[in-house]
Symmetry: C2
Subunit: 250 residues, 2 copies
Protein backbone atom coordinates (compact mmCIF):
# COMPACT_ATOMS: atom_id res chain seq x y z
CA UNK A 1 0.00 0.00 0.00
CA UNK A 2 1.58 3.24 -1.12
CA UNK A 3 2.04 6.23 1.09
CA UNK A 4 -0.30 9.02 -0.04
CA UNK A 5 1.05 12.44 0.99
CA UNK A 6 -0.72 15.75 0.35
CA UNK A 7 1.61 18.76 0.03
CA UNK A 8 -0.48 21.70 1.14
CA UNK A 9 -0.35 25.28 2.35
CA UNK A 10 -2.93 27.91 1.43
CA UNK A 11 -0.19 30.55 1.45
CA UNK A 12 0.92 31.15 -2.08
CA UNK A 13 4.42 30.74 -3.47
CA UNK A 14 5.96 28.66 -0.63
CA UNK A 15 7.32 25.93 -3.01
CA UNK A 16 4.51 23.36 -2.84
CA UNK A 17 4.88 22.50 -6.52
CA UNK A 18 8.67 22.60 -6.43
CA UNK A 19 8.68 20.28 -3.40
CA UNK A 20 6.33 17.72 -4.99
CA UNK A 21 8.46 17.67 -8.16
CA UNK A 22 11.88 17.58 -6.46
CA UNK A 23 10.88 15.22 -3.63
CA UNK A 24 9.13 12.93 -6.11
CA UNK A 25 12.26 12.85 -8.28
CA UNK A 26 14.46 12.18 -5.23
CA UNK A 27 12.25 9.28 -4.09
CA UNK A 28 12.28 7.82 -7.63
CA UNK A 29 16.10 8.15 -7.70
CA UNK A 30 16.19 5.99 -4.55
CA UNK A 31 14.27 3.30 -6.43
CA UNK A 32 10.73 4.07 -5.25
CA UNK A 33 7.81 4.05 -7.72
CA UNK A 34 6.20 7.50 -7.52
CA UNK A 35 3.00 9.13 -8.79
CA UNK A 36 2.64 12.91 -8.56
CA UNK A 37 -0.88 14.36 -8.79
CA UNK A 38 -1.50 17.95 -9.91
CA UNK A 39 -4.58 19.22 -8.05
CA UNK A 40 -4.05 22.90 -8.94
CA UNK A 41 -5.94 24.49 -11.89
CA UNK A 42 -2.81 26.59 -12.46
CA UNK A 43 -1.18 23.29 -13.54
CA UNK A 44 2.28 24.43 -12.43
CA UNK A 45 3.39 20.84 -11.68
CA UNK A 46 2.24 19.64 -15.12
CA UNK A 47 4.21 22.47 -16.74
CA UNK A 48 7.30 21.89 -14.57
CA UNK A 49 7.21 18.16 -15.47
CA UNK A 50 7.10 18.98 -19.18
CA UNK A 51 3.49 17.94 -19.89
CA UNK A 52 2.05 19.82 -22.88
CA UNK A 53 -0.39 22.67 -22.23
CA UNK A 54 -4.06 21.80 -21.52
CA UNK A 55 -3.79 18.00 -21.58
CA UNK A 56 -7.12 16.32 -22.28
CA UNK A 57 -8.31 14.30 -20.40
CA UNK A 58 -6.71 15.55 -17.17
CA UNK A 59 -7.50 15.82 -13.45
CA UNK A 60 -10.55 17.85 -14.46
CA UNK A 61 -12.17 14.78 -16.03
CA UNK A 62 -11.13 12.64 -13.06
CA UNK A 63 -12.75 15.04 -10.57
CA UNK A 64 -15.89 15.17 -12.73
CA UNK A 65 -16.05 11.37 -12.68
CA UNK A 66 -15.52 11.05 -16.47
CA UNK A 67 -12.05 9.48 -16.45
CA UNK A 68 -9.83 7.36 -14.21
CA UNK A 69 -6.34 8.27 -13.04
CA UNK A 70 -4.96 5.59 -15.40
CA UNK A 71 -6.63 7.32 -18.40
CA UNK A 72 -4.60 10.52 -17.87
CA UNK A 73 -1.11 9.35 -16.82
CA UNK A 74 2.07 10.83 -18.34
CA UNK A 75 5.60 9.62 -17.68
CA UNK A 76 8.28 12.20 -16.95
CA UNK A 77 11.89 11.36 -15.93
CA UNK A 78 11.00 8.33 -13.83
CA UNK A 79 7.80 9.83 -12.37
CA UNK A 80 4.19 9.15 -13.31
CA UNK A 81 2.26 12.42 -13.53
CA UNK A 82 -1.52 12.93 -13.27
CA UNK A 83 -1.68 16.34 -14.97
CA UNK A 84 -4.10 19.20 -14.50
CA UNK A 85 -5.43 22.06 -16.62
CA UNK A 86 -7.32 25.32 -16.07
CA UNK A 87 -10.59 23.40 -16.64
CA UNK A 88 -10.11 22.01 -13.13
CA UNK A 89 -11.30 25.39 -11.81
CA UNK A 90 -14.69 24.45 -13.30
CA UNK A 91 -14.72 21.21 -11.30
CA UNK A 92 -14.59 23.28 -8.07
CA UNK A 93 -18.00 24.83 -8.78
CA UNK A 94 -19.41 21.44 -9.82
CA UNK A 95 -18.03 19.68 -6.69
CA UNK A 96 -19.56 22.21 -4.28
CA UNK A 97 -23.06 21.09 -5.31
CA UNK A 98 -22.31 17.36 -5.01
CA UNK A 99 -22.94 15.04 -2.08
CA UNK A 100 -19.77 13.31 -0.93
CA UNK A 101 -17.77 16.06 -2.64
CA UNK A 102 -14.81 15.61 -0.28
CA UNK A 103 -14.24 11.95 -1.26
CA UNK A 104 -13.97 12.21 -5.07
CA UNK A 105 -10.15 12.06 -5.22
CA UNK A 106 -9.95 9.41 -2.49
CA UNK A 107 -12.21 7.15 -4.57
CA UNK A 108 -10.34 7.92 -7.82
CA UNK A 109 -6.99 7.01 -6.24
CA UNK A 110 -8.19 3.84 -4.52
CA UNK A 111 -7.42 1.51 -7.48
CA UNK A 112 -4.10 3.25 -8.16
CA UNK A 113 -2.23 3.63 -4.87
CA UNK A 114 -1.50 -0.14 -4.69
CA UNK A 115 0.95 0.21 -7.59
CA UNK A 116 3.07 2.99 -6.09
CA UNK A 117 5.36 3.37 -3.11
CA UNK A 118 4.57 7.09 -2.93
CA UNK A 119 1.72 9.27 -4.22
CA UNK A 120 2.41 13.01 -3.78
CA UNK A 121 -0.49 15.47 -4.25
CA UNK A 122 0.27 19.11 -5.18
CA UNK A 123 -2.50 21.30 -3.70
CA UNK A 124 -3.57 24.79 -4.86
CA UNK A 125 -2.97 27.89 -2.67
CA UNK A 126 -6.36 27.77 -0.91
CA UNK A 127 -8.34 25.76 1.66
CA UNK A 128 -11.15 25.18 -0.80
CA UNK A 129 -12.77 21.97 -2.00
CA UNK A 130 -9.75 20.80 -4.08
CA UNK A 131 -7.35 21.00 -1.11
CA UNK A 132 -10.00 19.32 1.08
CA UNK A 133 -10.07 16.48 -1.48
CA UNK A 134 -6.28 16.23 -1.30
CA UNK A 135 -6.32 16.08 2.52
CA UNK A 136 -9.14 13.51 2.51
CA UNK A 137 -7.37 11.25 -0.02
CA UNK A 138 -4.02 11.39 1.80
CA UNK A 139 -2.82 9.64 4.97
CA UNK A 140 -0.15 12.28 5.60
CA UNK A 141 0.22 15.98 4.95
CA UNK A 142 3.57 17.71 4.35
CA UNK A 143 3.53 21.49 4.88
CA UNK A 144 6.10 23.58 2.95
CA UNK A 145 6.77 26.77 4.92
CA UNK A 146 8.74 29.75 3.81
CA UNK A 147 10.40 31.26 6.89
CA UNK A 148 8.77 34.68 6.56
CA UNK A 149 6.19 36.51 8.66
CA UNK A 150 3.34 36.54 6.12
CA UNK A 151 3.65 32.81 5.52
CA UNK A 152 3.78 32.04 9.25
CA UNK A 153 0.35 33.51 9.78
CA UNK A 154 -1.54 30.89 7.84
CA UNK A 155 -0.03 27.89 9.66
CA UNK A 156 -2.60 28.01 12.46
CA UNK A 157 -5.50 28.10 9.96
CA UNK A 158 -4.00 25.17 8.03
CA UNK A 159 -3.55 23.03 11.15
CA UNK A 160 -7.15 23.78 12.15
CA UNK A 161 -8.32 22.64 8.69
CA UNK A 162 -6.30 19.43 9.09
CA UNK A 163 -8.05 18.83 12.43
CA UNK A 164 -11.44 19.39 10.78
CA UNK A 165 -10.62 16.96 7.97
CA UNK A 166 -9.46 14.38 10.52
CA UNK A 167 -12.72 14.64 12.48
CA UNK A 168 -15.10 14.78 9.51
CA UNK A 169 -13.74 13.02 6.43
CA UNK A 170 -10.39 11.32 7.10
CA UNK A 171 -9.59 10.06 10.63
CA UNK A 172 -6.24 8.64 9.47
CA UNK A 173 -4.73 11.96 8.37
CA UNK A 174 -1.43 12.69 10.15
CA UNK A 175 0.88 15.69 9.83
CA UNK A 176 4.19 14.32 8.55
CA UNK A 177 5.77 17.68 9.35
CA UNK A 178 6.80 21.04 7.94
CA UNK A 179 9.56 21.56 5.39
CA UNK A 180 11.29 24.93 5.56
CA UNK A 181 11.69 26.08 1.95
CA UNK A 182 13.31 29.06 0.19
CA UNK A 183 15.56 29.38 3.23
CA UNK A 184 18.11 32.16 3.21
CA UNK A 185 20.62 31.48 5.96
CA UNK A 186 22.26 34.89 5.55
CA UNK A 187 19.35 36.81 7.12
CA UNK A 188 18.20 36.89 10.74
CA UNK A 189 14.55 36.85 9.62
CA UNK A 190 14.69 33.22 8.54
CA UNK A 191 16.14 32.01 11.83
CA UNK A 192 13.78 34.21 13.89
CA UNK A 193 10.70 32.87 12.12
CA UNK A 194 11.80 29.24 12.52
CA UNK A 195 12.24 29.87 16.24
CA UNK A 196 8.71 31.32 16.36
CA UNK A 197 7.29 28.28 14.57
CA UNK A 198 8.90 25.97 17.13
CA UNK A 199 7.51 28.07 20.03
CA UNK A 200 3.93 28.56 18.85
CA UNK A 201 3.09 25.36 17.01
CA UNK A 202 3.36 21.71 17.96
CA UNK A 203 4.72 20.59 14.58
CA UNK A 204 7.74 18.53 13.61
CA UNK A 205 10.15 20.51 11.40
CA UNK A 206 11.77 18.08 8.97
CA UNK A 207 15.48 18.48 8.23
CA UNK A 208 17.21 19.75 6.17
CA UNK A 209 15.90 23.20 5.31
CA UNK A 210 15.76 23.73 1.54
CA UNK A 211 18.08 26.63 0.59
CA UNK A 212 16.99 29.37 -1.79
CA UNK A 213 18.84 28.97 -5.09
CA UNK A 214 18.15 30.53 -8.50
CA UNK A 215 18.94 27.16 -10.11
CA UNK A 216 15.66 25.86 -8.69
CA UNK A 217 13.69 28.65 -10.32
CA UNK A 218 15.40 27.92 -13.65
CA UNK A 219 14.34 24.28 -13.94
CA UNK A 220 10.56 24.39 -14.56
CA UNK A 221 9.53 24.08 -18.19
CA UNK A 222 12.38 21.81 -19.14
CA UNK A 223 10.47 18.86 -17.70
CA UNK A 224 13.21 18.22 -15.17
CA UNK A 225 13.42 18.91 -11.46
CA UNK A 226 16.34 20.55 -9.70
CA UNK A 227 17.76 17.03 -9.22
CA UNK A 228 18.47 16.78 -12.95
CA UNK A 229 18.97 20.47 -13.71
CA UNK A 230 21.67 21.07 -11.07
CA UNK A 231 22.35 17.70 -9.55
CA UNK A 232 25.13 18.76 -7.15
CA UNK A 233 23.49 22.00 -5.98
CA UNK A 234 22.73 22.44 -2.29
CA UNK A 235 18.98 22.48 -3.02
CA UNK A 236 19.15 19.16 -4.92
CA UNK A 237 21.19 17.58 -2.11
CA UNK A 238 18.70 18.91 0.45
CA UNK A 239 15.74 17.33 -1.37
CA UNK A 240 17.65 14.02 -1.57
CA UNK A 241 18.27 14.11 2.19
CA UNK A 242 14.63 15.00 2.81
CA UNK A 243 13.55 11.99 0.72
CA UNK A 244 15.75 9.70 2.83
CA UNK A 245 14.26 11.12 6.06
CA UNK A 246 10.73 10.80 4.74
CA UNK A 247 11.25 7.15 3.82
CA UNK A 248 12.52 6.48 7.34
CA UNK A 249 9.47 8.22 8.88
CA UNK A 250 6.86 5.49 8.31
Amino acid sequence: MGRVIAVANQKGGVAKTTTVHALGAALAERGASVLVVDLDPQASLSFAAGVEDEPEPSMHEVMMGRASIDDILYESHGLDVAPSSIDLAGAEVHLLAKTGREYVLQRALRATTERYDFVLIDCPPSLGILTINGLTAAREVLIPLQAELLTLRGLGQLLETVTDVRSFTNPELEVAGAVITLFDSRTRLGRDVVARIRESHDIRILEPFIPKSVKVAESPGRGISILDHASSSRAAMAYRELAAHLEALT
Copy 2:
Protein backbone atom coordinates in the same frame (compact mmCIF):
# COMPACT_ATOMS: atom_id res chain seq x y z
CA MET B 1 -14.66 59.54 -8.32
CA GLY B 2 -11.84 57.46 -6.91
CA ARG B 3 -9.74 55.09 -8.99
CA VAL B 4 -10.60 51.50 -8.04
CA ILE B 5 -7.68 49.16 -8.80
CA ALA B 6 -7.74 45.38 -8.27
CA VAL B 7 -4.32 43.84 -7.59
CA ALA B 8 -4.61 40.28 -8.85
CA ASN B 9 -2.64 37.24 -9.93
CA GLN B 10 -3.76 33.68 -9.22
CA LYS B 11 -0.12 32.65 -8.87
CA GLY B 12 0.74 32.54 -5.20
CA GLY B 13 3.43 34.54 -3.43
CA VAL B 14 4.10 37.18 -6.12
CA ALA B 15 3.73 40.15 -3.70
CA LYS B 16 0.08 41.10 -4.28
CA THR B 17 -0.43 41.92 -0.60
CA THR B 18 2.94 43.62 -0.24
CA THR B 19 2.20 45.75 -3.33
CA VAL B 20 -1.26 46.84 -2.09
CA HIS B 21 0.21 47.81 1.29
CA ALA B 22 3.35 49.57 0.00
CA LEU B 23 1.68 51.25 -2.99
CA GLY B 24 -1.22 52.36 -0.79
CA ALA B 25 1.23 53.85 1.71
CA ALA B 26 3.17 55.57 -1.09
CA LEU B 27 0.01 57.11 -2.57
CA ALA B 28 -1.06 58.31 0.91
CA GLU B 29 2.42 59.84 1.42
CA ARG B 30 1.84 61.86 -1.77
CA GLY B 31 -1.34 63.26 -0.19
CA ALA B 32 -3.94 60.94 -1.75
CA SER B 33 -6.76 59.49 0.37
CA VAL B 34 -6.50 55.71 0.10
CA LEU B 35 -8.67 52.71 1.03
CA VAL B 36 -7.16 49.21 0.87
CA VAL B 37 -9.59 46.27 0.75
CA ASP B 38 -8.54 42.78 1.90
CA LEU B 39 -10.42 40.28 -0.26
CA ASP B 40 -8.31 37.25 0.79
CA PRO B 41 -9.55 34.88 3.55
CA GLN B 42 -5.87 34.50 4.56
CA ALA B 43 -6.15 38.14 5.70
CA SER B 44 -2.46 38.83 5.03
CA LEU B 45 -3.11 42.52 4.31
CA SER B 46 -5.07 42.94 7.55
CA PHE B 47 -2.21 41.33 9.49
CA ALA B 48 0.45 43.38 7.67
CA ALA B 49 -1.50 46.58 8.43
CA GLY B 50 -1.63 45.71 12.13
CA VAL B 51 -5.35 44.88 12.38
CA GLU B 52 -6.05 42.45 15.24
CA ASP B 53 -6.77 38.82 14.38
CA GLU B 54 -10.28 37.85 13.23
CA PRO B 55 -11.86 41.33 13.22
CA GLU B 56 -15.65 41.18 13.47
CA PRO B 57 -17.42 42.47 11.41
CA SER B 58 -15.07 42.23 8.44
CA MET B 59 -15.20 41.72 4.67
CA HIS B 60 -17.01 38.45 5.37
CA GLU B 61 -20.06 40.35 6.67
CA VAL B 62 -19.83 42.81 3.76
CA MET B 63 -19.83 40.00 1.18
CA MET B 64 -22.75 38.34 2.97
CA GLY B 65 -24.69 41.60 2.80
CA ARG B 66 -24.80 42.01 6.59
CA ALA B 67 -22.53 45.04 6.93
CA SER B 68 -21.34 48.01 4.89
CA ILE B 69 -17.72 48.91 4.15
CA ASP B 70 -18.08 51.86 6.59
CA ASP B 71 -19.04 49.47 9.42
CA ILE B 72 -15.70 47.63 9.22
CA LEU B 73 -13.09 50.35 8.55
CA TYR B 74 -9.78 50.51 10.47
CA GLU B 75 -7.20 53.26 10.17
CA SER B 76 -3.53 52.30 9.83
CA HIS B 77 -0.68 54.76 9.20
CA GLY B 78 -2.67 57.07 6.92
CA LEU B 79 -4.57 54.28 5.15
CA ASP B 80 -8.14 53.12 5.65
CA VAL B 81 -8.29 49.33 5.74
CA ALA B 82 -11.33 47.11 5.08
CA PRO B 83 -10.06 43.98 6.83
CA SER B 84 -10.75 40.33 6.19
CA SER B 85 -10.81 37.12 8.24
CA ILE B 86 -10.84 33.38 7.58
CA ASP B 87 -14.66 33.49 7.70
CA LEU B 88 -14.50 35.05 4.24
CA ALA B 89 -13.78 31.54 2.89
CA GLY B 90 -17.35 30.72 3.95
CA ALA B 91 -18.68 33.61 1.86
CA GLU B 92 -17.24 31.93 -1.25
CA VAL B 93 -19.56 28.94 -0.89
CA HIS B 94 -22.50 31.23 -0.14
CA LEU B 95 -21.80 33.51 -3.12
CA LEU B 96 -21.65 30.64 -5.61
CA ALA B 97 -25.34 29.93 -5.02
CA LYS B 98 -26.42 33.56 -5.37
CA THR B 99 -27.71 35.37 -8.42
CA GLY B 100 -25.65 38.44 -9.26
CA ARG B 101 -22.80 36.92 -7.26
CA GLU B 102 -20.14 38.82 -9.27
CA TYR B 103 -21.50 42.26 -8.32
CA VAL B 104 -21.59 42.06 -4.51
CA LEU B 105 -18.35 44.00 -3.95
CA GLN B 106 -19.12 46.50 -6.69
CA ARG B 107 -22.41 47.36 -4.97
CA ALA B 108 -20.79 47.47 -1.50
CA LEU B 109 -18.12 49.90 -2.71
CA ARG B 110 -20.47 52.19 -4.63
CA ALA B 111 -21.23 54.49 -1.68
CA THR B 112 -17.59 54.52 -0.58
CA THR B 113 -15.42 55.20 -3.61
CA GLU B 114 -16.53 58.84 -3.82
CA ARG B 115 -14.56 59.61 -0.65
CA TYR B 116 -11.20 58.20 -1.81
CA ASP B 117 -8.70 59.08 -4.50
CA PHE B 118 -7.60 55.42 -4.67
CA VAL B 119 -9.20 52.11 -3.65
CA LEU B 120 -6.77 49.16 -3.89
CA ILE B 121 -8.20 45.62 -3.68
CA ASP B 122 -5.90 42.75 -2.56
CA CYS B 123 -7.12 39.55 -4.28
CA PRO B 124 -6.51 35.95 -3.14
CA PRO B 125 -4.30 33.56 -5.15
CA SER B 126 -7.10 32.08 -7.29
CA LEU B 127 -9.47 33.00 -10.14
CA GLY B 128 -12.49 32.11 -8.02
CA ILE B 129 -15.55 34.15 -7.11
CA LEU B 130 -13.71 36.54 -4.75
CA THR B 131 -11.20 37.58 -7.42
CA ILE B 132 -14.05 37.88 -9.96
CA ASN B 133 -15.76 40.25 -7.48
CA GLY B 134 -12.55 42.28 -7.24
CA LEU B 135 -12.21 42.51 -11.04
CA THR B 136 -15.89 43.41 -11.43
CA ALA B 137 -15.71 46.17 -8.80
CA ALA B 138 -12.51 47.70 -10.22
CA ARG B 139 -11.91 49.89 -13.26
CA GLU B 140 -8.28 48.86 -13.50
CA VAL B 141 -6.27 45.76 -12.71
CA LEU B 142 -2.60 45.81 -11.67
CA ILE B 143 -0.78 42.49 -12.10
CA PRO B 144 2.23 41.81 -9.83
CA LEU B 145 4.56 39.39 -11.61
CA GLN B 146 7.59 37.66 -10.19
CA ALA B 147 10.09 37.21 -13.00
CA GLU B 148 10.26 33.43 -12.78
CA LEU B 149 9.12 30.66 -15.09
CA LEU B 150 6.37 29.20 -12.88
CA THR B 151 4.80 32.59 -12.38
CA LEU B 152 4.96 33.45 -16.07
CA ARG B 153 2.74 30.52 -16.95
CA GLY B 154 -0.39 31.89 -15.33
CA LEU B 155 -0.28 35.30 -17.04
CA GLY B 156 -2.15 34.05 -20.12
CA GLN B 157 -4.91 32.54 -17.98
CA LEU B 158 -5.23 35.76 -15.99
CA LEU B 159 -5.49 37.96 -19.09
CA GLU B 160 -8.16 35.61 -20.48
CA THR B 161 -10.11 35.95 -17.22
CA VAL B 162 -9.84 39.75 -17.46
CA THR B 163 -11.26 39.54 -21.00
CA ASP B 164 -14.14 37.39 -19.73
CA VAL B 165 -14.91 39.85 -16.93
CA ARG B 166 -14.84 42.72 -19.42
CA SER B 167 -17.33 41.01 -21.74
CA PHE B 168 -19.66 39.65 -19.04
CA THR B 169 -19.67 41.79 -15.89
CA ASN B 170 -17.50 44.89 -16.22
CA PRO B 171 -16.98 46.48 -19.67
CA GLU B 172 -14.87 49.29 -18.17
CA LEU B 173 -12.09 47.04 -16.81
CA GLU B 174 -8.67 48.03 -18.18
CA VAL B 175 -5.27 46.46 -17.50
CA ALA B 176 -3.17 49.21 -15.87
CA GLY B 177 -0.10 47.04 -16.38
CA ALA B 178 2.21 44.52 -14.78
CA VAL B 179 4.57 45.30 -11.91
CA ILE B 180 7.72 43.17 -11.77
CA THR B 181 8.19 42.24 -8.10
CA LEU B 182 10.81 40.34 -6.08
CA PHE B 183 13.28 41.21 -8.84
CA ASP B 184 16.82 39.97 -8.44
CA SER B 185 19.00 41.87 -10.91
CA ARG B 186 22.02 39.63 -10.22
CA THR B 187 20.57 36.61 -12.05
CA ARG B 188 20.04 36.07 -15.78
CA LEU B 189 16.71 34.34 -15.07
CA GLY B 190 14.97 37.56 -14.09
CA ARG B 191 16.04 39.42 -17.22
CA ASP B 192 15.26 36.42 -19.47
CA VAL B 193 11.73 36.09 -18.11
CA VAL B 194 11.03 39.81 -18.49
CA ALA B 195 12.14 39.57 -22.12
CA ARG B 196 9.76 36.62 -22.59
CA ILE B 197 6.87 38.58 -21.08
CA ARG B 198 7.47 41.44 -23.49
CA GLU B 199 7.59 39.02 -26.45
CA SER B 200 4.58 36.87 -25.69
CA HIS B 201 2.10 39.23 -24.07
CA ASP B 202 0.74 42.58 -25.09
CA ILE B 203 0.98 44.13 -21.63
CA ARG B 204 2.52 47.34 -20.36
CA ILE B 205 5.30 46.68 -17.83
CA LEU B 206 5.27 49.52 -15.31
CA GLU B 207 8.61 50.90 -14.14
CA PRO B 208 10.47 50.55 -11.87
CA PHE B 209 10.88 46.88 -11.05
CA ILE B 210 10.58 46.25 -7.28
CA PRO B 211 13.85 44.78 -6.00
CA LYS B 212 13.93 41.77 -3.68
CA SER B 213 14.98 42.88 -0.21
CA VAL B 214 14.74 41.11 3.15
CA LYS B 215 13.63 44.39 4.74
CA VAL B 216 10.31 44.01 2.90
CA ALA B 217 9.74 40.57 4.39
CA GLU B 218 10.51 41.94 7.87
CA SER B 219 7.82 44.64 7.92
CA PRO B 220 4.49 42.72 8.10
CA GLY B 221 3.04 42.37 11.60
CA ARG B 222 4.31 45.72 12.79
CA GLY B 223 1.42 47.44 11.05
CA ILE B 224 3.80 49.37 8.81
CA SER B 225 4.75 48.98 5.20
CA ILE B 226 8.28 48.98 3.82
CA LEU B 227 7.92 52.76 3.40
CA ASP B 228 7.98 53.22 7.18
CA HIS B 229 10.08 50.18 8.12
CA ALA B 230 13.02 51.02 5.82
CA SER B 231 12.19 54.34 4.27
CA SER B 232 15.39 54.81 2.24
CA SER B 233 15.64 51.20 1.00
CA ARG B 234 15.61 50.56 -2.75
CA ALA B 235 12.27 48.73 -2.44
CA ALA B 236 10.63 51.67 -0.63
CA MET B 237 11.97 54.13 -3.24
CA ALA B 238 10.72 51.82 -6.02
CA TYR B 239 7.20 51.76 -4.60
CA ARG B 240 7.27 55.57 -4.30
CA GLU B 241 8.28 55.89 -7.94
CA LEU B 242 5.59 53.41 -8.95
CA ALA B 243 3.00 55.49 -7.10
CA ALA B 244 4.07 58.59 -9.01
CA HIS B 245 3.82 56.74 -12.35
CA LEU B 246 0.41 55.30 -11.45
CA GLU B 247 -0.95 58.73 -10.58
CA ALA B 248 0.26 60.03 -13.95
CA LEU B 249 -1.38 57.11 -15.78
CA THR B 250 -5.01 58.27 -15.72
